[in-house]
Amino acid sequence: MSARDLLLPLIAVLVLAGLAFSGLSGTLLNLLIFMMIISLAAQGWNILGGFGGLSSFGHAAFFGTGAYTTLILQTSLGVNAWAGLVAGVLLGAAVGAGIGFLSFRSGLKGSYFALITLAFAEVLRIASNSAPITGGAAGILLPLDYGFLNLQFDDRRWFALIAILFVGAALALTRWLERSRFGAYLIAIRENEQAAQALGVDVFRVKLGAITLSAGCTALAGVLYAQNYLFVDAHVAYGPWISIEALFAAIVGGLGTMFGPLVGAVALLGLGEITKMVSGGVPGVDLLVFGAILILTVAFVPGGLMSLRQRLTGRRRPRGETALRSEEGA
């Protein structure tokens, strides 16, 4: 990977940071932070689901582990938030490796893999709902205490900036994946596992590496969520909502692309917010429109929003269009 490869992630970070410091109102800043958190979760999902072709329905398992780890360490052991963040990411990645080890050893793929990940997330949700260490059904609440070491800021723009930097790092990670041998192995496995194996790719190890990276990234989203809302319970941490949000953002944005999850998260949450503003006071109408837009996107832009850009540039250049046509026909 060359320095030039890092140019686009850097530009994205600068644009987003510029946005955060452009005098956004509190509501919009909140939305931006939430977009970044969902984007990180989706970027994690994209490593495994987009590049590896292993669709997980249970990324909540990693998100929740990240969130709970940092809150438990902070509230019961008094560990500072940054150490909690590192621990959360590591433990989330370890949970990923564990689930990956069990399911890939048994050769689970496709819908079986999706279901087993869902099952793991649900088991964790039910366990954390009754276990004393996670505060049971009451969840864990982190007291409001501003300070850099607590990752809580009176001026929320700083928190937004930190979230944006992490999103930038995840973009760079995805770029590395696109350029590296490891990423090439992963894509080869997605395209044809038997062929990859025949060519000498250690399928098990590559998949295990992918799920570990993916889980760590999504766990980081969980840590940031916990740090932003200062409260986590079993439903928030391990509930199916985050698994769905992560895979929707990645699919709508564009599977297996660097910017897909970020674009997807911004577009989905942004549209939700816009419909809410336009609809006025009618409760729930934003969710309704949101659902409709989702269906339309999946129906008419199956390659995600990132493919829309390619399609549009293709139209402008006739030769590109023919290339795309033949590709579609194939």
Partner: protein, 408 residues
Amino acid sequence: MTKMTGQTRRTILKGGVAAAAAATLGAPTVLRAQPAAVKIGLLQPMSGFLAQAGDLASIGAQFAVDEINAAGGIKALGGAQIELLIGDSKSNAEAGAQEVEALNEAGVVAIGGGFASGISLTATQAAARHDLPFLVDSATADSITGRDLANTFRLGPNFSMATEVALQNLIKLNEAAGNPAKTVALVHEDGLFGAGLAQVMQEKLPGLGFEILETISHPTPARDMSNVVLRLRSLQPDLVIPSHYYNEFVLMARTMQQQRVRPMGVYAVFGGAASSYQFVAEYPEAAEGVFDCNHWGDPSNPTDAELKAAVEAQGKHYAYNTPINYSVVKVLAEAIEKAGAADRAAVTEQLRTAEFGSGVMPYGTTKFGEDGQNVNALPLNTQVQDGKINVIFPDQFAQSTPVFPVNG
């Protein structure tokens, strides 16, 4: 576009100056007649699975606002009208926090509501960032108050207060009938509310002479209660103590009716449906005889009947959300009145130190303790009798005597 001549421009300028002069001259009179409205926020789940509760709550809050405005608004502010801004928490915690930000930007002086404990926990913390006073309505988790958040107050009883009252009244009920009930089955949803209640019951009931046969938990939402009810049928408990939200409560009561499981009583604490007129209207047979210990308006207060009529006029069914949110707005308005300013810090200070009325809730006066909890908050015990929800305890609010055992 036509070119504007000098004369037209001058005419326009003259007109503008005249208008500006008129506005300047007129402004003081306008201000005196109509001081700036005071904005109060109401955070409720207007969409999502708790939407019904939010809807009923907003009717109560709006009723209070209309009543106060009709009576001349906030007198200390020259009769300023109250404007109610409703924020939709979408039945989830992070949307609740997000809506608090929106209400803050809209310039509210205080926020009321919250409804569910998870939402209230994050929303009060979000409001604390802006030193925005937050008066929680019916969310019961003890941890909501007592977190050193200077802005957070709760009108209704917390969990510990309510379970204590519920257990006292259960013993009273049983003693009055000659102690027929000895065994109990607990059925609870596995969230904060149900699991927390079951835990308290497990700790306290054995010491009060009840034997707990089994504790059955289920998730929310649950689509089927057959297995739970079959288990109850084989256990044959004297009492069933349920704690779940509306749909699950209705499902369980109906399934019990279908399978002819008839314990001596169904004694709910913060029952999701046990004191909801929708349940009583739709499943009168399943609802008959069910006990509840819950937030409930003072039946002797005429406004309570007016609120019920207002809800029914919209074709909806009455539940506790309406009276408690009516009362939340009344207390907030009184605090603004006492503060004499639409100022957040001044309102918080009043809430911390002064005493207030309690709207239609049976609390007498409202006084917030050090931790922000209303020390006088009190749940009422009700029983569904002949299709009506009657208060049975405490005696000063009782509308009728309890019928126990129900299936004698």
